[in-house]
Symmetry: C3
């Protein structure tokens, strides 16, 4: 079946099931994350305290961990919630925001990967490359080759294989892999990088789509295409105005998205390797 | 006097007095809460640290406590600020976000209710039902009957009577009671549930209206009608666009609201019991 | 050279260099701060944990400290980041939100000023007056004269002289001084005070302009004029709608701003004293 049709059907399923998505996310973009989830048809719940997260994740259909504004209190909660999600077979999505930019973010990413089994790792090329390098280096292999290569397909496959999860690298072209299969998404618009939080929203939507999808690699690709398509629609609506209007139009586009949107605009492709 | 006219007059008073409203609220919707307060004519101040809240609440005309993203540090501050507000006869509004969804939220709600005298409890039916059940159960009564009933009028009256405050339950129809009198508000639009924070904004506006109103039950009803009316206006402005535009139009509607808006669109009714 | 032309050229430089600006800011307006920085051509990074801030500030071109929702954890991080910035000659901007409103904000402002060398102090008249008074009073002088005076030019000059930094006081007319030179900015619109965060955004933009400007007093004035001009443009776009649309139009205006905008609309003036 056509992968864009599959994404469209998943969109329908999401709107029918309204999955509760537990987000442990940064305070910069948390409001947009909540509104993006509502707009796409999911139900967001935010909770980051160690006394609260296990109860909340237990009633959720997915857990999204985003380390954008991490601190000791929330890192402890992330590990607690991640382990609980693992124990209850609730999918976990990690967005390692800024991995590679500070030792603390690096250590935290490492700790989460070691203690929590991920279903999806979603980041930009440099963040996911860091994770690739980290894994490689723990095995004594020089990570500089992988870093220099900057081949999203190779990195996605490598990380996915190592962590046993789906790796989703977003950029001008987005790449999603489970280590064997590779999907690419050609949707998107450069203006998506001119508002904060489009990566965070994509990670949260990944939680929503994975919550209702049977095959995580297609669900992650559908989520990423949702943002890409919304970016294209938002650009059309806001190009004369500016990035403030673009951000509003992005949420508008999510909220109007339906099966047909993916059929008509989706540019997800499964690579033949 | 007609209750909608009363609400309109309170709207005028609010714009004339510009009350400072101290909000201890969640980081998900805090920006919308601040902008909603500014739009309706109040002045917001956010502060949640134990070293800061007593000074801040002392210069404020109302305190709004919202437990949406609670943690140990902020809970301690909430209790401190609540007690200071009580001592200074500054009205306290509690929004027990997610009460019923986790043990920590339940315990926190219970602790606040025990240690702080509320002027208004504002939540959805399940949150206020939890408080009703909680109170009942502490008296050894099975709370399941009350929960099953789901009669907003009965629950509002019961909670108001028990806590000696105004109970405001928002939903398709909103119910406000002081234990004896009951007001219902028929304003609103389903799209209000498709953006995050409309409940939080309503609680904050309740603080603003109560700060300037002599009779809290009418002030709370006016605040709730303000959101309902703004939702109707925002839907008209944004229905072709989506939920991003709806959120913007909601703040727009608050900012244009005046006495006449309530006279022409208000659907507050005092029930004859 | 004309000061408005200078500001326009700085605008170009900013868009060419895309400086990374590290913000330690309040959770109320942090999203608008990030989007304003992106819109004006900078790159925002938010980080407030003591384990993270030194690494992050080290890769940044400016540090913006805003005490709007301070607490013990973030204050410690602010001092750490500020000292690191000083050591690395990275400019530091302080926005003492609410200084004068609580003892904790006063003490924190005092501590930051004592331990961190500022490049720019940006606040409203009452916040900067507090700092002026504070400094005076620590020298045993009665601060009430300075407070009563409320002469923005005198206060800006005094504070700048005492702290050895640029003082920028925003209001109906904005005043920027390095203790000797004084610039005033006549741009702006009253609606800027009807949305939260316009002060915070101005402080963050000050970081961005100072990061690329050689003469800090002109860079600070350019940043303040950017908000003033954006406010004028946003008012034109949103006056029929309300403050929600005004906020969106403000970011739109930042994102479209270029050299010509300053040439045509800039009202920065260097006073002849």
């Amino acid at each position: 079946m056509n992968v864009n049709k599959k994404a469209g059907e998943l969109m329908n399923k999401l709107r029918a099931e309204v999955p509760l998505v537990h987000c442990m996310t940064n305070y910069v973009t948390v409001n947009d994350v909540a509104n993006a989830l509502l707009a796409i048809g999911a139900s967001p719940i935010m909770s980051d305290d160690c006394h609260d997260v296990e109860d909340i994740v237990s009633i959720s259909k997915a857990l999204v961990i985003n380390i954008g504004t991490l601190n000791e209190r929330t890192i402890a909660s992330m590990l607690l919630a991640g382990k609980k999600a693992n124990a209850m077979h609730i999918p976990v999505i990690l967005d390692p925001v800024g991995a590679g930019a500070s030792a603390y973010r690096n250590e935290t990413t490492k700790k989460i990967i070691e203690e929590v089994k991920l279903d999806v790792l979603r980041g930009n090329l440099s963040e996911v490359s860091f994770v690739a390098g980290l894994e490689v280096s723990t095995k004594g292999v020089d990570s500089s080759d992988a870093d220099a290569d900057k081949d999203a397909v190779a990195i996605a496959k490598a990380v996915a294989g190592k962590l046993g999860c789906i790796a989703a690298i977003t950029g001008a072209v987005d790449t999603v892999s489970d280590g064997k299969r590779v999907l690419q998404v050609q949707n998107g618009h450069p203006m998506l990088s001119k508002v904060t939080g489009t990566g965070c929203m994509t990670s949260a939507l990944t939680g929503a789509f994975v919550a209702v999808g049977e095959d995580t690699v297609y669900a992650a690709a559908a989520a990423i295409a949702a943002t890409g398509i919304a970016g294209e629609l938002a650009y059309e609506a806001a190009k004369e105005k500016g990035t403030g209007s673009f951000r509003v139009a992005l949420i508008d586009a999510y909220s109007r998205m339906c099966e047909n949107t993916f059929m008509e605009m989706g540019k997800i492709e499964e690579l033949t390797l």
